[in-house]
């Protein structure tokens, strides 16, 4: 444990931020073949609800759900098929509390107006626990599924994602918080002065606005961007509230996080309002040898494609706690998005073994600090751009 965390017991003190990736049966392509994976229930809402309940028991900040418009490429023995992540997140909202829900929603082939009201609605339904995992599509498969435009390269798709984030944010702001007045005396339900046309005109699309959906409880649900390339890192610096970094070493993460903060400051933003979470592929067991053996077994069933691009932990819960502490103390991360190799095994270990140790070390909260995801992340509720300029 590093010295500066050791005596922290105050509830209001900053906490490490932890999310967990609930995509598929786990981050390892063979996870569905793991004992207890319940692979025949991969698309079952009850299975997903139970995973969220576990994550919530561990007071984790958020769960992420990946998505794509094309079927996973055929691997030797891989699981295939996905439900629409936004609808899954909404399904998970009413029977959960405290925990943030982060579906990936594409920006390349979707309508920004629809994206805006979908995320706003998940925020309403969850009373302020939605975030938006910004996705973009560069595959010919996704382009052919829609048949409306050609395949886009990454630079173009990321640029378009920036346009979509911009207009979606304005649509969230297109209703001021107190637009609904129900003034019986004048017969007016809303104050139309507090509803705003966004009049967005980009090079790829236009949107008139206002939204049909009142401003979400969080004002703007957090925007989550995966900084998987330099272009994506720039996008994240400009627009993200939560950035998912991929870094294989602590030093690499420190450098990336510094670069991100510099670019955010250059874009006129307060870098302290960014939460940087490093993706952590995790295999947990009571001793390191068992963890290695589990990974070998999974790799045997279905090898992972290519070299890992991000931090991996194959070992004990205590060693993971030490790594989390070291990375956060060194300014490499504000926390992690844990990608359990196998949800059926590693999520329980994370919640029942890693979290309590982090808590007793004073590194992790012992209760949710508020009701919204912004509260949990320590992010301020943003001012409305239209109200501010009115």
């Amino acid at each position: 444990m590093s010295q500066h965390h050791r005596h922290r017991t105050d509830l209001s003190a900053p906490s490490v931020h932890l999310g967990v990736d609930l995509t598929d049966a786990g981050a390892h392509p063979a996870a569905w073949r793991d004992l207890g994976s319940q692979a025949q229930r991969l698309f079952d809402a009850q299975r997903l609800a139970s995973l969220v309940a576990t994550a919530q028991r561990g007071l984790l900040d958020l769960v992420v759900l990946d998505d794509a418009f094309s079927l996973q490429p055929v691997q030797r023995h891989g699981a295939q098929g996905r439900l629409d992540a936004a609808l899954v997140a909404s399904r998970l909202a009413p029977r959960s509390a405290g925990i943030g829900l982060v579906p990936t929603i594409d920006t390349t082939h979707t309508e920004p107006f629809h994206v805006s009201k979908a995320v706003a609605t998940i925020d309403h339904v969850s009373r302020g626990r939605a975030a938006w995992g910004v996705g973009w599509s560069t595959t010919p498969e996704a382009a052919r599924a829609f048949g409306r435009k050609g395949v886009q390269d990454e630079a173009d798709a990321v640029d378009e994602a920036g346009d979509v984030i911009d207009v979606v944010g304005r649509l969230w702001d297109s209703w001021e918080d107190d637009a609904e007045i129900r003034d019986v005396a004048t017969g007016r339900f809303v104050d139309r002065e507090k509803l705003h046309y966004v009049d967005y005109e980009g090079i790829r699309f236009r949107v008139k606005g206002p939204s049909i959906t009142p401003r979400p409880p969080q004002g703007r649900p957090p925007v989550v961007v995966r900084a998987t390339s330099d272009a994506a890192l720039t996008l994240a610096a400009r627009h993200a509230d939560v950035v998912r970094l991929q870094a294989t070493s602590l030093d690499e993460a420190v450098a990336q996080r510094e670069l991100l903060r510099t670019r955010a400051a250059d874009a006129g933003r307060d870098a302290d309002q960014l939460r940087v979470l490093v993706d952590a592929f995790v295999v947990l067991a009571d001793d390191e040898a068992s963890a290695r053996a589990r990974l070998e077994l999974l790799d045997d069933l279905e090898p992972r494609a290519g070299a890992s691009t991000t931090f991996e932990h194959v070992g004990t819960p205590d060693a993971l706690v030490a790594a989390i502490d070291a990375w956060v103390a060194a300014g490499a991360a504000d926390g992690f998005v844990v990608r359990p190799s196998s949800l059926s095994t590693d999520l329980d270990a994370l919640v029942d073994k890693v979290v309590p140790t982090l808590q007793s070390a004073g590194l992790f909260r012992t209760a949710y600090p508020g009701r919204t995801l912004r509260d949990t992340l320590g992010l301020a509720r943003p001012a409305n751009v239209f109200a501010a300029t009115a």
Binding site: L71, A86, R95, T121, I212
Partner: protein
Amino acid sequence: MTTRRKQIHLGVHFPGVNSTTVWSDPESGSQIDFASFEHLATRAEAAKLDFFFLAEGLRLREHKGRIHDLDVVGRPDTLPVLAALSAVTERIGLAGTINTTFNEPWELARQFATLDVLSGGRAAWNLVTSPDAFTGENFRRGGYLPYAERYERAAEVVEVARTLWDSWDDDAVLADAEGGRFLRPGAVRPVEHHGRYADVVGTFTTPRGPQGHPVLFQAGDSAEGRDFAARTADVIFSMHSSFEAGRAFYDDVQARLVAAGRSRGDLKILPATTVVLGDTAEEAAERAAHIRRQQVSGPTAIAFLEQVWGRDLEAYDPDGPLPDVDPDVENISITRGRVRHARDPLAIVAAWREQAEANRWSIRDLVIHTTTRGSFVGTAQQVAEDLDRHVQEDASDGFILVPHLTPHGLDDVLDQVVPLLQERGVFRTEYSGPTLRDHLGLGRPEVADQATELAG
């Protein structure tokens, strides 16, 4: 020997943006808070109703170039609300309006397949079309779809969606961990469709839902809309709730159904209607009149006239006589985002002046009388008898109940009228199956023959 009486189908409508919801009533709650949706859906489920229905809007309405501010404004996105309701209900169907004009078939098919999977087979899609450039201004697709083409596009979108739903076999997920086969070989087939409105090539991502295809609703009332429904839909959401209009509509649609090669019973006709109850017939009538007066505020009455007059009439007193000026027949864009009522303003205004004079009606009185739709008003016993008569005599197959208050507006109907229908033996006392298709007595579509699919 008694013959089994025709069974009534009932849905509840969560009011969206409209002038029928009395927001000014102190008992009116939030139209956005999820608790409101949960209340109506769970109460309807406790009463064993067929489905919960949610409309959508894609642009805020405007009146005289400004956002219309007199009615309820602001609603959530349809499908995420239905997905959330699937977590707090177990049996009731979850029906939502989604426009075919400003959505792409791949995404729509995934969303409805997802809802059907998440809800255990309770999804329904009310297909609507929107040809206007006003709504299009919010979308990439944007622009204007010629009126005549809107059902062509809708038909193609549905055709592609069905092809995508059928591209996964029901038992496609094998999940054979030992053998290492997740999908059954050959059970997920690529799809290729090249049409006028959709160009879709790929392997679909989402399993076939428990219903095979979500139930399809259709709400258009034009001849094209009726033909489209007769060819395509499982349920028509009709606006004809009076007995005579209902009978005429029912006969017309049945004829179109048979002409489309389908059978009676393949298409359920469910008008939207309101119900007002009282301990006596007189009390119910008084309540109905009071509700109508609340629904039509002074400013609402003036705004309604402005749509027909094509003029600013704010200077007129809603409790005074009709405006003495003539309508501006050139001004047809005073209201945008809702269906225009007046095709011949001069004739309408002449008729209204005559009626108002004969009955000594104020502007507000006239609007109340003109805009009152068919509804069922009376004691619970009277209403139950009346609803039953409509269904037994083929004026409809049931009803979609529209409350005037959110979210408690149907509590009394569910508590008082539904048990009487159950006593009459015309409404279920328990759900007989898990899916909405079960509730509606609709068959489950088999996976279409692959050769036919690929020819599409």
